[in-house]
Symmetry: C2
Subunit: 255 residues, 2 copies
């Protein structure tokens, strides 16, 4: 990832010690390469002349940003790069989805309640099906996803999709649902204790959350989804305008 | 924002004190409403039976997530909600851009260097123009943006755009550049000391960074951009599939 302008140093040149430590360790990561062990905390503190708490602050930022892999009891290592790319496009999931692995862990019916009823344009006493899965790549769990679909719309939906099968594929193949579109919102949230245990991360780390409302080809909302992604291992990507680079698309010219 | 499944509580029911404090304060925020002062730290610690450091951990998460506005010396308040929406669509910026205000603060030429040269398909000894601006809404600074364009491509580009004018509008109107498309990547990073001073936030807060490579109608890259958004005040949004809800678009149906 590219540095901020002027290396992040303010005009008065005054930078905090944790930031100096962070930049030093980041330069080390780039030099040492993926999987290599970083020097011990004590050695780094001595080299940089900073306290252990200061060093840890810089180190934690690099863990959150996916540069350092910190394993309890065995030290810190240069993390795998680049991060896994996850496309926000949705329209050709199998081909462009960095997280092809899916394990369904929850399938339950419950009343919609006020917030979900509003999002799905149903009555708050109507029921929804809550489907939850963990998603990953190469055996690593990178996301936790909860989807809610109206029971009335899919009354014969009574068991979770097969492992690794997406909900969209299931709704299309079993219930002839045609995808129309979706609105997505991306924010920073902190991993809850339950999510930390599902993801196998440190608790309380910041992660990327995407909230999505999808509608079918007739414009009727059919799902509301909350996906929490590990920000240290994953980059969200999207493409705007012409799909093929080098291929003009007049619909997307600036007017 | 919606809660994580099972309120974030793991199956063993064991939740850390900071998380209990966080949930309590979040419920308070929803009850009290925007702009209202939260009870003092001491009162909250007494009510919850937690130490001040524990309370602060929960409170800091809510500051980062945009629920609590913490003003030094004057306590904590329920933050403005909803957050400002910033569309990732790019194609109709003036209409959908939550951050309409732009103040240009840097305009300089410099050698591209290895990384930028690669992204812009130019030689690393070629020069680029670095344009930096702060972007905001209603007088609040919410993002810092650095754009790099190849000097060779725009040799007569010698001054920054007018205040509040976008770089795309400038390139289109002054240099007849037709936008083709862009790839965007979204990650979590921490606000650097310089960015914290430009944004007026606490230093070291996590923020959302978007890196973008854009190409023109002939497919030639014309800019590389790094935008750092305040995650506490801003939500990134995008729409997939049919632009008009309720309007089928066969190109985007699932196959």
């Amino acid at each position: 990832m590219a540095d901020p302008a002027r290396g992040g140093v303010p005009d008065d040149g005054d930078i905090p010690s944790y930031y100096r430590a962070k930049r030093h360790i980041l330069a080390l990561c780039k030099k040492l390469g993926e999987g290599v062990a970083l020097p011990s905390e004590r050695l780094l503190c001595d080299q940089l002349g900073v306290a252990r708490a200061t060093l840890r602050q810089g180190m934690l930022q690099l863990v959150i940003e996916g540069w350092v892999d910190s394993r309890q009891g065995s030290g810190s290592f240069v993390a795998k790069r680049p991060k896994v790319s996850q496309c926000l496009c949705l329209t050709n999931e199998s081909a462009q989805d960095g997280l092809s692995g899916r394990t369904w862990i929850t399938f339950e019916r419950r009343p919609a309640g006020c917030e979900l009823a509003h999002k799905l344009c149903i009555d708050q006493n109507d029921h929804v099906i809550h489907l939850e899965c963990v998603r990953g790549s190469d055996g690593e769990v990178l996301a936790v996803e909860s989807a809610f679909v109206p029971t009335k719309r899919f009354p014969r939906f009574s068991r979770p999709p097969a492992q690794n099968r997406s909900l969209h594929d299931e709704l299309k193949n079993r219930f002839k649902m045609l995808f129309g579109g979706a609105d997505q919102r991306m924010d920073i949230v902190h991993v809850s204790p339950r999510e930390a245990s599902l993801l196998g991360t440190l608790p309380a780390l910041p992660g990327l959350v995407v909230h999505r409302t999808s509608w079918d080809a007739r414009g009727e909302p059919f799902e509301w989804v909350r996906t929490l992604y590990r920000g240290d291992r994953l980059t969200l990507v999207n493409r705007v305008g012409s799909i093929e680079r080098g291929f003009a698309n007049e619909r997307h010219d600036l007017r």
